[in-house]
Symmetry: C2
Subunit: 189 residues, 2 copies
Amino acid sequence: MGIQQMSDLSSQVLELMRRRQSVRKYSDRPVEREKLERCFEAARLAPSACNAQPWSFVAVTDREILSRLRENLFNKPYHMCAFAREAPVLVGLIAEPTTFWPTVGGLWRGVKFPLLDLGIAGEHFVLQAAAEGLGTCWLGWFNEREFKSILRLPRKKKVAALLSVGYAEADDPLRDKIRKPIDDIRTCL
Amino acid sequence: MGIQQMSDLSSQVLELMRRRQSVRKYSDRPVEREKLERCFEAARLAPSACNAQPWSFVAVTDREILSRLRENLFNKPYHMCAFAREAPVLVGLIAEPTTFWPTVGGLWRGVKFPLLDLGIAGEHFVLQAAAEGLGTCWLGWFNEREFKSILRLPRKKKVAALLSVGYAEADDPLRDKIRKPIDDIRTCL
């Protein structure tokens, strides 16, 4: 990759991160399977502690299953995320058990590496989706018990988060991001 | 952004994720401050539960401080990460306390949202760094107590991970990624 291309890429990636926003209004345009697959490939490539890859993903587009998820995941007290009922795709992000060393090391360090790793992999999905022209929203607040029951997942599985995925409604403009000033979050020594 | 550009972007982002790899051999070429700043800007833009942005970052490039970190962070039993002594920049990723609702919701859901959020923000940094031509490595295994002591950070701060940052040595080739097959990690319903 030449220097000019690299330089273009750095602007484009930063611009992509500026344009990525949590989409809470979805059109009913279906999501192309190949786009979804590239998002999963992006997640698959993510780094993780000791390369344990402690994650799995369940994407639901089936009308009947989706309809049951919509009915059961976002009732009170989870109604804050009721917008996700409109999304044509729901993806469950499962924190799988990690391998021996990250488990032991995580106990020693007081850091649950699978959760950190799932954030990394999930955001690979989200950024690839943004590059595909898709909107997503991270959802931490939903009825996990119902999700596992409807999808017949073992009760011990940890569905740490969902992603709603779809095309944003045409009238969903790019919003200004509300973020802390850089000097509040970054020190250089 | 036109359709052709979007389509290019989706290939480029996926290719960037394919080319990003954990760099463990650093040249002594210094990292330009403006590149580092764009990486922090990328992290700043990341999404988080209730937009709490429960993170802060400390970048160390100062020769004297760096020298003390190199001497003290990666001794036994942390010597697995001793390669990070060669990196011209070390960045501490601090999981800051989140706001009321993600705290309560996280207890209810059994998910430490600040850790998930830090994975997201840290990977924004890592991907922007890759786009800038920089190498990074996530480090979960280091002497956190020494890190806080040398940087005079309060003992209660949680330095969940470090990132080593720098230019890869010229003889550090692109490796094949070892990852689980997609069918082992992704189900579509």
